[in-house]
């Protein structure tokens, strides 16, 4: 989708009818110059309001739509029209506001298609707009200054996660999940009403209780994860301030180094513990068998010495006596007699070559076990000694870190001492929050196991009754579908995460001055990585990362425009509108980002103030600018003592505020 025109009619500070036309062609950037308060955010919000009746959080008094001067002159209506090009057709979308419509809907949306015969109204305007840009995706194409500055901030991790899901087109799957949940509850109620079996009734109640507990525990887990992220950020902010504070700088540097050593020791400790666990799994069997194998060898040797193992009777010897029918004492041994049977009985335990081989093999096996076990205690002793050494090292480091903290707290500068105390408190809270999270996770696992048990019993009972069996079949199908949907969503999301992360890194490689990389943490927070370590972000770095992330989202949406996944909406191509995108960047970054901005989307609209649109920035953008506008503030009253406000744009000095005009309003002027 491409915006070709925006017409404002008595909308906010724009008196009368004013128009912005957007370029079509290779020069894809529209540049709108305006100082603060002149209407940059209003232009962005005019488009958002027209399409979705949405506005950005910074847009104050969102219901105050009609221009003041127009209202004084008796006008009660305002209107925004957006002309778009979508799939090779031209459309007009129009939202109007009528203050006279007391008690009725004040805004109305209409959509038309440009036909050879004129404008043809579309029957369902809202549905049409939703097809062009799904509302949940729209907000990631329209950014006001603050949002573009802090989108990648750590505290914004939820929004980052949401943005990836929205751009991925998960809303259909989300509604499907919600429908399946409702359906499951409905089936549960039916089961409860129709079973007539007390045990089923009881188990159904149990399932309902467990489900509700699971939901509570899951939302508690999310809350704890959020708390931990916030506390980590607060902690990092204090540490950053201590790193910068003259009095504490040196001590904080030492603490940073000790903390790094502590982190390494903890990693080594974890690996030593794993070694011991591995040893238990692989070698402990030899230690147990050492004693047993020794006993076995001794027994075999002793019995062998006494001629008991193998048996003292040889099989051939006994067979010879039976065949000869004569005993060793030369007495006759007639077949079928009791004496003959007693001698034949000896064959069962008589020794032969096979039995002999077995005894030899058993002894050799015992001896092997005995030999393998002999070095096992040494391996364990080594691992234990390493564990003890690392534990002592960790305790020592913890003590040293504690002392460094006390040193900062003891500094004569009250402010630094206060900061350190606050840091310590946050650290304590963080520890408690981590423990709580662990407990919640364990509780969740326990609840899942309980629920699984109850589910199984219910299934068994339900099979006995045809009516309930059908209801359980329904529930089973719903639950399996939910499981499949969840699995598919998870795999799509993690794939999207990887793609977007790779795209952000590609952009950083092109734009950043340092060898920065980006990484998503487990909560979808974006970390800035320098030399393989997560590094705290300055306001400028946050803005740089935010812009890279926005660009990656826009590209991801464009790449998915023809996607036909089972559970996802396809992506979209839409203009990217950025208000004050360079606010926190220093001049050198402003220039390199300005060179990059035109590549962000097929159509880019930039709203910049004098502090952002300096000569370097304008020069970098110039080859891509297809249309340029200046917002001029006009006032009815005289200048009085007010200072002039001028700005040089493309070599021409312009008055930005005019006095003694017919209306107080913002005037849109096309440049060039």
């Amino acid at each position: 989708m491409r915006i070709s025109k925006v017409r404002l009619s008595n909308f906010r500070q724009f008196y009368g009818e004013q128009e912005l036309a957007f370029p079509d062609g290779k020069k894809n950037v529209t540049l709108i110059h305006a100082e603060n308060g002149f209407g940059k955010t209003s232009i962005l919000n005019a488009v958002l309001w027209c399409l979705f009746r949405q506005v950005t959080p910074k847009f104050e008094r969102p219901d105050d739509i009609v221009n003041y001067d127009a209202r004084e002159a008796g006008t009660k209506t305002a209107r925004v029209e957006v002309e778009i090009e979508f799939k090779a057709q031209h459309y007009l979308i129009q939202r109007s506001f009528n203050a006279d419509r007391d008690g009725r809907e004040k805004t109305q949306l209409a959509a038309f298609r440009f036909d050879s015969g004129g404008l043809k109204p579309l029957p369902a305007a809202e549905t049409f707009v939703g097809t062009v840009i799904p509302p949940e995706m729209a907000k990631y194409f329209f950014f006001d200054g603050e949002a573009a500055e802090s989108f990648a901030a750590a505290r914004n991790y939820k929004e980052i996660g949401n943005s990836i899901r929205s751009i991925l087109g998960c809303s259909l799957a989300d509604t499907a999940t919600s429908d399946l949940k409702d359906l499951c509850k409905h089936v549960d109620r039916e089961i409860g009403d129709t079973s007539g079996d007390d045990r089923i009734q009881h188990l159904e109640n149990e399932i309902a209780r467990l489900r509700s507990e699971l939901e509570t525990a899951a939302s508690l887990r999310e809350q704890k994860i959020g708390d931990i992220t916030t506390l980590k950020e607060q902690h990092e902010e204090i540490v950053r301030s201590l790193r910068d504070a003259a009095g504490a700088q040196e001590i904080q540097k030492q603490r940073d180094s000790k903390l790094e050593q502590k982190r390494q020791t903890e990693t080594a400790l974890a690996s030593a513990r794993i070694d011991i666990l591995k040893w238990i799994g692989q070698r402990s069997i030899f230690v147990v068998s050492r004693r047993l194998s020794q006993v076995a060898i001794d027994f075999v040797d002793e019995a062998g010495l006494r001629g008991r193992i193998p048996s003292p009777y040889n099989e051939d010897f006994v067979k010879g006596i039976l065949q000869a029918e004569t005993c060793v004492c030369h007495r006759p041994l007639k077949a079928g007699t009791a004496e003959w049977a007693a001698v034949a009985e000896l064959l069962k335990t008589a020794s032969n070559v096979e039995v002999m081989n077995r005894v030899v093999r058993a002894r050799a096996r015992s001896q092997m076990l005995h030999a393998d076990a002999s070095d096992a205690p040494t391996v364990l002793a080594d691992a234990q000694s390493r564990l003890a050494h690392l534990s002592a090292q960790l305790a020592q480091l913890e003590q040293e870190i504690e002392e460094l903290g006390k040193k900062i707290e003891g500094l004569p500068l009250q402010e630094l001492a206060d900061r350190e105390r606050a840091r310590r408190q946050i650290e304590g809270k963080l520890d408690r929050a981590q423990q709580d999270l662990g407990a919640v996770k364990a509780h969740l696992i326990k609840l899942e196991q309980q629920k699984e048990g109850v589910d199984k019993e219910l299934e068994e009972l339900a099979r006995k009754n045809k009516r309930t069996a059908r209801l359980y079949a329904k529930r089973r199908l719903v639950l399996k579908a939910m499981e499949m949907l969840h699995g598919l969503l998870e795999s799509y999301e993690s794939e999207a995460r990887r793609t977007i992360e790779a795209e952000v890194n590609k952009i950083l490689e092109e734009v950043a001055h340092k060898d920065y990389r980006c990484r998503f943490n487990e909560n979808f927070g974006i970390e800035l990585i320098l030399n393989d370590k997560a590094t705290p972000k300055s306001a400028g770095e946050n803005q740089l990362l935010s812009l890279a992330f926005i660009a990656a989202l826009v590209r991801f949406a464009a790449d998915r425009v023809d996607a036909t996944d089972l559970i996802l909406k396809p992506g979209i191509v839409a203009p990217l509108v950025l208000d004050a995108p360079l606010g926190q960047l220093d001049p050198s970054y402003q220039k390199s980002v300005a060179q990059f901005l035109p590549k962000l989307a097929q159509q880019v609209v930039l709203l910049v103030s004098g502090s952002q649109g300096g000569t370097q920035v304008l020069k970098a953008l110039e080859p891509h600018v297809g249309a340029e506008y200046l917002l001029i503030q006009e006032n009815k009253g005289p200048r009085g003592k007010k200072q002039e406000l001028k700005r040089v744009i493309r070599g021409q000095e312009r008055d930005l505020i005019l006095f003694g005009r017919k209306q107080t309003m913002t005037h849109i002027e096309r440049l060039g």
């Binding site: 939703g130 499907a176 079949a473």
Partner: protein
């Protein structure tokens, strides 16, 4: 999940998503109509499952 069961779940999911797409951009009465259709779909799928089992 055995193959036959997985196939049944997948068929159900496909038809469920068709319904979601149909009502995806609808605003008026979308939820009620959509949920009604989803309920009918579930009845249909389970009836087929039972018939196949018999």
């Amino acid at each position: 999940m055995p193959d036959a069961q997985e196939k049944r779940v997948l068929t159900f999911l496909k038809e469920l998503m068709e319904i979601q797409r149909k009502y995806g951009n609808e605003l008026k009465n979308a939820k009620t109509n959509r949920q009604e259709e989803v309920r009918e779909l579930l009845d249909k799928c389970v009836a087929k499952e039972v018939a196949d089992a018999d």
